[in-house]
Amino acid sequence: MTFFRDTWIIFSRSMRLSLRQPLWVLIGLLQPILYLTLFGPLLQNIAATSGFQGDAWQVFVPGLLVQLGIFGGLFVGFGIIAEWRSGVIDRQLVTPAARTSIIAGRTLRDVVVISVQAIVLVGCAYLLGLRVPPAALLIGLVLVALLGAAFSFISNAIGIATKSEDALAPLVNTLALPILLLSGILLPMNIAPRWLQIASDFNPFKHIVEALRAVFRGDFTNPIVWIGALLAVVLVVLGAWVGARTLTAQTR
């Protein structure tokens, strides 16, 4: 099918370009490591006294993974704006390539980059003392990839729709902050006041983080796992839909 072929072609081109700038890949890898080494020890102490269930790494690493998926995807829109400026997007739009491939190929590249970062993160966490069932790690990586895909689609869509870094930056930040603060990624939500807890219930990412924490504890049959997985899939579908629509609207 031409969609898969075209997506692969766009992916290969984007991937090659990313690999030509190893510094950025390196910086991307460094970030989760910094979190682990500079923030991890802090949390070790908090975890002992606060409402977290389970070992500190089992609580902290799922949060970091979800954060990596969200933020790894959210900022890719800047790249597509640069590509639009240099005429690459129009050049690809004028070919018979499937419209969706033009965005999906780039998102696939982002997913690969984010997944590699997630593997490095988990590897480092393991060295620092994280111990979880192998299946949990696999589920964690898949979840990060799904979140990365969803946010990459959305960020690319915003980038292409606004064509302006000045518009994308505040939009992305406005989107990221409440997601982060109401997700319980860094601190458990059950130490929050009642109204904040209720607000956070409406944040799908809180449930996704909770799901991954359950998995990391080995609690695979907890219903939250299904809820989290379902939410992640819904987000990807939603992101892909928005992305595809935005790209088609380009030629309107």
């Binding site: 690459v88 050049r91 070919t95």
Partner: protein, 341 residues
């Protein structure tokens, strides 16, 4: 396809195409094409309902000043921008209902470039070609041939960002031709090129048409480019096509060739003016001191006749100039403004 002579074609009134128009080998057939941009609640009528027809194998120049609506028209014909009105058949398919088949057959070289600065030239060419279903080997061979034809033989492994502006422009053109489109749109192809590369590009565009029968639709705001490259020219201003025809036919629409005679004295000038005024199709000669100016439909034909007449009357002309009108004169006559502004 060998040399192609396009007949002068008067502008059609909007929306009056006959059945025959669609039966001929039209490569582009647009009716009432219109695009209105919305910017901050204001409507900008960039293209105001144009009709155009380009035959297979023609090189058509779309000439107009900046902001005339050339790029907007091109983007509509390339499926990059939906028209807000009108319709078009491009390379045999309907723009609105069958965009994919239009895309298969056309090439487009945007005014804005087409490559990422960090990307390697060869990679960009191959990846672009593959989107048309061309395999790597073919893409590599064709890409290298095209690069060589445009004097870029040595850049295959360099990054696009390391090329000069003119080199990058030629690379854009290579990308637009890699799949051997039957119809190619070039938006200001020679902007940023030095005179040598420009001449070379023109030769290449002509040879594309002559060897592959490629139809070429190019926009330009350079008169000399439109003049020397196009079989036919469409002049666009404020989103409307104001004139259409071969370069020669368009230039005939202005006053014709200008003849300037310089004589020994005013008396001679007066007598010469009398003789010149008798030339076939001449307008009333203007005399200023010992210089006479007049317009004739064809300077090359009129000059020997004029000179013979002067000799016969015993008048010595000390200087003669024939100036053919440029497309700028055409534009000036049509719009009251110069293209150069």
């Amino acid at each position: 396809m060998t040399a192609y002579a396009a007949p002068f074609r008067p502008i059609r009134s909007r929306g009056h195409f006959t059945h025959e128009d669609f039966m001929a080998t039209a490569m582009i057939e647009a009716k009432g094409l219109k695009r209105t941009y919305k910017a901050r609640g204001k409507d900008i009528e960039a293209v105001r309902g144009i009709d155009l027809r380009v035959e297979a194998g023609e090189i058509v120049g779309f000439l107009g000043p900046n902001g005339a609506g050339k790029t907007t028209t091109l983007k509509m014909l390339c499926t990059l921008l939906a028209p807000t009105g009108g319709s078009a058949i491009v390379a045999g398919s309907d723009l609105r209902t069958d965009a994919v088949n239009v895309r298969r057959k056309i090439g487009y070289v945007s005014q804005a470039g087409s490559t990422s600065p960090e990307a390697v030239v060869g990679d960009e060419i191959i990846s672009h070609a593959r989107l048309y279903g061309i395999d790597r080997a073919t893409a590599t061979r064709r890409g290298k041939d095209l690069l060589a034809a445009l004097d870029l033989a040595e850049v295959w492994s360099r990054t696009c960002g390391s090329l000069s502006g003119g080199q990058r422009r030629r690379l854009d053109i290579v990308m637009g031709l890699i799949h051997q489109p039957t119809l190619v749109f070039l938006d200001e192809p020679s902007t940023g090129l030095d005179p040598q590369s420009r001449a070379n590009l023109w030769t290449h565009i002509r040879s594309l048409r002559d060897t592959l029968g490629t139809t070429v639709f190019l926009t330009t705001h350079y008169m000399d480019e439109a003049d020397s490259l196009s079989d036919r020219i469409l002049i666009i201003d404020h989103g409307t096509i104001v004139a259409e025809g071969t370069p020669a036919a368009l230039k005939k629409r202005v006053s014709g060739d200008a003849i300037t005679l310089t004589l020994r004295d005013e008396a001679d000038a007066q007598r010469a003016a009398g003789i010149a005024g008798g030339l076939e199709g001449a307008d009333a000669p203007q005399t200023e001191a010992h210089v006479v100016r007049l317009h004739v439909p064809d300077g090359g034909r009129a000059l020997p006749v004029l000179l013979a007449g002067l000799t016969k009357a015993g008048i010595d002309a000390i200087g003669v100039d024939v100036n053919r009108p440029t497309l700028d004169d055409v534009f000036l006559t049509l719009t009251g403004r110069s293209l150069r502004d």
